[in-house]
Amino acid sequence: MEAPVALTVGIVFGAGVYLVLQRNLLRFVFGLILISGAVNVSIFVAGRLTRGASPFVPEGAVAPPAGSANALPQALILTAIVIGFGLTVFAIVLLLRTYERLGTVRTDELPERLDDPRPVDRNGDAPAGAPRPRPMPQGGTVPRTGPSGTDARDDGEGAP
């Protein structure tokens, strides 16, 4: 029973690695999601697969009967899923914000956009990386652009 699941983990992991190696950050995030799924399943398999025996403790006993499923990996995976969910959401929001402020989600284009004061509006239908024909007023079409002085390139000390 373990072998086909392990094979599946390998395939999903491989697909995830392929996506992670892409230059498009959205694909990168999809790759992360795939890998984190594969890792979770591998933890599940690591606890050994047992069919049909729930790890319930019978009344009066102090331990589940022999041969019942291992409950610990499920607790671990549950924790890992919750954490992975939070991190994935953060990564997606970061990606969205990066697209809003820098106008691209391609890793090789990010550095050159640093000095390029060309904000992209949220509903813009131009593809990532396409040149923007009209310069927009700073902060005009980008909602909630951080607190203060955030348009400077080095805004470590962005005190107003």
């Binding site: 890792v39 690591a46 970061l94 402020r101 820098l102």
Partner: protein
């Protein structure tokens, strides 16, 4: 159970919840963060005193005995690092009073910082591999938010790299945990120490390499360090200084723990790999720094280079080398964070930390120059400052072990470190100020006091080296004898 072990985690964690509630009262929030970090420092000092008096302290949560419950363990290594973490947290909280702007405060800088501190301390104190993963994620998510808080362009560009690489590292760590569990059926570190000894050695070495990649990314060792110089110069100085001081050191701690407690079965191979990586890390980091021209970028590359010395100490794996690695770690946290603080002051006073744009600071701000000189010379290894003893210990251990090549690399790296530091010194402080440079504002006291205090620690560690060295040696003795750790967690010697 002993509350003292988890106090350095609980205090900042609980305080961050209160700080969230206070988000409309920034003045109160600042004072609260300062008070909390001070209390955390007091608690961690008490913990260190307890550990040096009565040996390793262990406690399990929820009343489940180890290895079933989640264990928290404070040995010398953990307790020392928690004290260092608390000192840095206090210094950063003070520095942030003047450095973090109102906008970032409104977005929750203080609560996030306290969560970060709790995560770092949790990672140092936990005795359970999966719990270590959880604390890593706690500190990661807080650091993600702190790094990108305010959404400056440069911050986002650096943040994307930092987040992406660290997420991959977490997945490696999680996969390694899953395979470890499959192999041994336990995740309690003390229990694992025994279980891994009985497991097939080739599989254990495979796991060791997986953990090496996962922790190596966090610790920024060669060839996994590229995210660090790409992101650490972007956030506000207070954030960057704490990151520079503590976050990579959490990875170094995890390596120290894993390769002294868990993976000691095939030292010739695992620690041989570490030695090669240490050599490359030292040299590549310092060469990267030599090519940079902005203070914070230079310092970021030096973080990488100095991680190499710590890994070198671990790779040599003798009591003297481990003591040297730990001493180096403590010295480096203090000196490195202080240099970031100084770089922030230079930005504040001169408006930039680009070496082409500043100059003449020695003439106009002599105290700032001295504040830079102390940690910079410590970093380069000048006697009688802390860095001299740190380098001396590691080099002595290297000579003892006959690792000539690594000793030569370590000394050469020290010279090149000196080159970088003199470059900053000469161009920012000695060279005449460039045309049109106006020294705008005076340095606020909240930013000067942490710099002076940390410089004091650096001098103290160099002049009164005895007690610090004794602590480092006690920690090294515990690391070389994992049986004591195991007995404290699993034996009767655990909780009172």
């Amino acid at each position: 159970m002993s509350w003292l072990v988890i106090a350095p985690i609980l205090l900042p964690l609980a305080a961050s919840a209160v700080a969230f509630v206070l988000h409309r009262r920034p003045a109160l929030q600042r004072g609260w963060a300062l008070a909390t970090t001070a209390a955390t420092l007091a608690a961690s000092l008490a913990l260190l005193a307890e550990v040096s008096r009565g040996g390793i302290v262990a406690t399990t949560l929820g009343g489940w005995p180890a290895p079933f419950g989640i264990t928290f363990v404070a040995d010398h290594l953990s307790a020392i690092l928690v004290v260092v973490g608390a000192v840095m947290a206090l210094a950063t909280a003070a520095y942030a009073l003047a450095d973090v702007d109102a906008g970032r405060e409104g977005l929750g800088y203080h609560p996030l910082f306290l969560v970060l501190v709790a995560g770092v301390h949790g990672a140092f104190l936990t005795g359970d591999l999966f719990n270590l993963y959880v604390w890593f994620e706690v500190l990661l998510i807080a650091s993600f938010a702190l790094l990108t808080l305010g959404s400056g362009r440069a911050q986002l560009e650096g943040g994307v790299k930092y987040v992406a690489v660290n997420l991959v590292s977490s997945l490696f760590f999680l996969a390694a945990i899953g395979l470890t569990y499959g192999l041994t059926g336990t995740l309690n570190m003390a229990d694992l120490a025994g279980a891994l000894r009985d497991a097939p050695p080739n599989l254990v070495t495979l796991l060791a390499m997986l953990f090496l990649v996962a922790f190596g990314i966090k610790a920024a060792i060669f060839p996994l360090f590229f995210w660090l110089p790409a992101s650490y110069h972007t956030p506000p100085t207070a954030v960057a200084a704490y990151f520079a001081g503590m976050l990579t050191k959490v990875g170094v701690y995890a390596l120290l723990r894993a390769f002294t407690l868990l993976f000691t079965g095939d030292v010739a191979w695992t620690h041989g790999v570490l030695a090669v990586l240490a050599g490359f890390t030292m040299v590549v980091g310092v060469l990267g720094a030599a090519a940079q021209n902005e203070m914070r970028r230079i310092l970021a590359f030096h973080i990488v280079s100095q991680i190499g010395y710590m890994i070198l100490g671990l790779a040599l794996y003798t009591p003297l080398a481990l003591a040297g690695a730990l001493f180096y770690l403590v010295h480096n946290v203090v000196a490195k964070a202080n240099l970031f603080f100084v770089a922030g002051l230079v930005r504040r006073v001169a408006g930039s930390s680009d070496l082409d744009a500043v100059g003449g600071l020695y003439r106009h701000r002599p105290w700032l120059a001295i504040g830079f000189l102390v940690p910079a010379f410590a970093l380069a290894g000048f006697p009688p400052l802390s860095g001299f003893w740190a380098k001396l210990l590691v080099v002595l251990a290297g000579l003892e072990a006959g690792a000539w090549l690594l000793v030569v690399l370590a000394l050469g790296t020290g010279l090149l470190t000196l080159y970088s530091m003199t470059k900053i010194w000469q161009r920012a402080f000695w060279a005449p100020a460039p045309e049109g440079l106006e020294l705008r504002r005076d340095a606020p006291a909240a930013m000067v006091v942490p710099v002076a205090a940390l410089a004091g620690v650096t001098i103290l560690m160099g002049v009164a080296v005895e007690p610090f060295l004794a602590l480092a040696q006690a920690a090294a003795a515990e690391m070389m004898d994992p049986a004591r750790y195991v007995a404290a967690v699993l034996g009767e010697g655990g909780t009172p």
